[in-house]
Amino acid sequence: MLKYIFTSILFLAIGFSSFGQDYTQPSGQNRNGNNQQRPEDEEGTPRQKKEKLPYPNKKRGTSFGVDITQFFVPVFDDDRIVAEANIRTNFKKRMFLTGSLGYEKISFDDKSYHYDSDGVFARVGIDYDIFIVDEPDNNDNILIGLRYGMAIQDHGSDLITIEDGYWGNYETSIDNYSLNSHWVELVAGLRSEVLKNLYFSWFIRVKGKIHSNNTEVLEPYRIPGYGKGANAINLGFSYNVAYQIPWGNKNRKAPTP
């Protein structure tokens, strides 16, 4: 149920963030304030060709942050502890190199088996900014990107109970062992500078598993950084708070008074 509430809130949040912000200029004007011909002006009059805006000089730098959604994981699921830190740096004018490191621990004993898993994960990838706005000091980004993820975890079960009402329950265990998993992610999200050099961002992640080894005996209940181990595709959400150390901004145009 919490998942559906969360998804509903996400819908609303996306809705407000999308429609609540007006990136357009008053009717009849383009972003530069020039008069723009409207389609219904005069029949037969050819439309003016849309002016393609150049990508603005946004502030560059390297940012360090954390995914704050992971702090709330124990609220929804008290079997799990997750932490994730990330880094992002400008690679080209509108491209970013990103990376993250994280840790996930899961432990439960309320099913027909006990389960323990400890693991670390890493993601590397690139983001591309598709947000072009001619507004001084607007350093916001709408990002689409690709990630490669990898996790190494130790997992096992110290008690497996198979219920049998006739011959009697059977108990066994599986010693902890290591396995690793690989996946790719398509990401899309928004990043905004809320205070000077302080950025908030959120991302939706579509994750596709490439491979997990050693899953014959015990499939991982969750793969750190990926999600449910049994799913070929998982979806994720992250909300990052990051501080950016600016660099390479000498040629940026000073804001007009």
Partner: protein, 156 residues
Amino acid sequence: MRIRILFFSLIFIAVVYACTSDDSDFCLSNQQSVQSGFYSSSYSTDRDTTVSDVVIYSTGIDSITYDTATVSKTFLPLSMHNDTSEYIIEINKLKDTVSFVHTKELNFVSGECGFIFTFELDTILYSDNQIIDSVAIDYPSIVYGENIENVKIYLY
């Protein structure tokens, strides 16, 4: 326009998320049973037979699997503790014994459903004193979720 495309893409993704991450697995019983059908040995071709007043139990177990039942097939649980599961089949006070010799392998079903054993029937030992003519293995694997007759028991 781009914002709208992104917005609707995110709605699509969120809906897919809601569908794909459902935790409610449907779990079957973790107890695995050999499915045995009764057949008449009087015919040259297999004809299943419904038998009444059937009592099936195992030595050393208090509960009775079938108690004066009318059945054409039976589901007999296999022991996870031993390599042999022995049952006494009693029909109209006439008795015979069937012993299923099997191997087992632990398999993981899912995060929600846990583990089961997959059994493989190796041999069936039986007495043919009063009611059983012969016993044949038709499908030796007892696999979680499968509904296939494993053994044919031919009755006099």
